[in-house]
Amino acid sequence: MMITRARITRPMKITMALAATSLVAAACSSSTSSNSSSPSTSSAGPSGLTVPTANLPVLQKIGKGEGQLNLIAWEGYLQPQWVKPFEQQTGCQVNGKYAGSSDEMVALMKDGGGGQYDMVSSSGDADLRILYAGDAHPVNINLIPSWKQFFPAFQSPPFNTINGVHYGISLQWGPNVLMYNTKDFATAPTSWSVIYNPKYKGQVTVPDNPIQIADAALYLKTSTPSLGITDPYELTQPQFQAAVNLLAQQRPLIEKYWDLASQEIFDFKNGNAIVGAGWPYQVSTLKADKFSIGSVVPAEGATGWADTWMLAAKAPHPNCAYMWMAYISTPKVQAEQAINYGETPDNSQACAYMNQMQAGSCAEYHANAPLSYLASISLWKTPLATCDNGKTDCVPYSEWVSAWNTEVK
């Protein structure tokens, strides 16, 4: 039973035409772009930028918990041994989403966390990007009693406190260590040169992260002083190119750039890699599995990270978020996390608890180390075009990303 074409096609054609025009109209006329939650900002950097959310009112009192808490965290930051007691005490069920790099965290936090996420455990190089995009919310530090116990360097650090306004609380910090298989290295390597040594072709692993260029720069700072590198995150074009070239030379030595912490764990365990750069989390997981892993901060120093639990601008569960901040900053929990992960707590009172839980751990993880130790670690920060010394010829992060993707990998 065939129907003449005209009858069928006419209503169809009208519908299609209507749909098409409405689509185009919607696309052209929509006045807000998908994630411009901040007024237009210059790309020069923090000088001249304001934090769009600086004047939002802070919570005055922690109210009743909302029953849920959505957190973006590094792998290993939400272990059951401290999350479960928190859930029992406060009734806030924790949903964790893992992110393996600062870039991922910035991406997930766009649009103020999208109304989905409450907090993110971001490192220094992500914090400013999150802040200036207007994705963080001011925090009332008076509601976090343990804050007073923090080391002064971490109470109001420049990566989470701008003009006296806090946007989160500092969490813990640590180095990116040189990991090695103790069966292949009788004594601990003393220099980062080992991961650039062609002798270990196919057995080296480093993170798949553009910030790794800073690690190369840090090594060049000592090995090639003529380059004049002082800050591995503020590189002039020639310094930047030298670091990129070093990494391009390193490429044949690497079988796999690890994207996920578990990949590095798997690779060391199975002998795919015997030396490389990693986080203390991988080291402690392998040690717990009784694997022959060792780690060291070599003579040239190391890059590192200082993490903050930052509050999302559109956090759907602010009361639970504050309860979490208050909980995670207490000395005992700080000690637990520090030992489990292998990092250094920001709470000065954690040391005693650490030694109770594991003898000697306070010294091992530098919980009471002098400031000189902190100074030897180059903490992650976002490379900007404006260098700290006032000049504007430093290479910005977007070029780090494209160089990493096209020249190194």
């Binding site: 994630n35 893992y98 578990s262």
Partner: protein, 275 residues
Amino acid sequence: MEPKALRVGLRIWVVLVLAFLFIPIILIVLYSFNRSNIESWPIPSFSWHWYNVAFHDPQVRSAFLLSIRVALYATVLAVLLGSAVAFALYKYKFFGSEAISFLLVLPLALPGIITGIALNSFFSFTGIQLGTITIVIGHTTFCIVVVFNNVIARLRRTSGSLAEASSDLGARGWQTLRFVTLPLSATALVSGALLAFALSFDEVIVTVFTAGAQNTLPLWIFGAIRLGQQLPEVNAVVSIVILLTIIPVVLAARLAGAGAVTRSARGVPVGEAGS
């Protein structure tokens, strides 16, 4: 008939292919008994530990339940929408019908990451918050074509005169649908629904982009893979899922008869050669 040598050769080939398909599955089950939480060969020691952990893990339970819910909603929607298109198109060839079937195939034919980021941009563009609803929308979109192809292949096999006869006997449209058309296409609907459910349940790429803070089972598995400390638990969970699905799959295959299920399988439109 085929020569004997060919038949023997084919049998060997089939066995090899089956081995290829199943060795990784066997490994999944094997490693679920691995006591150590880092996977390596050979397995150091065996235990039921991870099954125990999986059963008591509230995250696994909520992820599993969310996956089931999403798959159910997506399947129901896909059945309704897909069969609607099939009923509309099977008799009438008009200018738009080819375009429509082309359109329906797009979500499956285009890589999942594109569907995922397109929907993600769309949701943030229109201000729809990511959540269960957006996951269901994403899954339904690519499940529709699976049902559609199943049903229309089946309907094209039935004679149109049956529906006409029903109307001649005085049935209203709805009664024809209920008493004639639906029973004829029942097996196609069931097998289409089963495949749509399977696609949605194991979907990971589109879900990564359309989910908010909640986890479906594949998302939970991905998180566990990132963490690297509970991989055998993942294997335990997957082994349980495989076990749970053997029965429905066997039942469906028997019920529909391998012929009907395959013809509608995977929602891929196949040329009607010689029929």
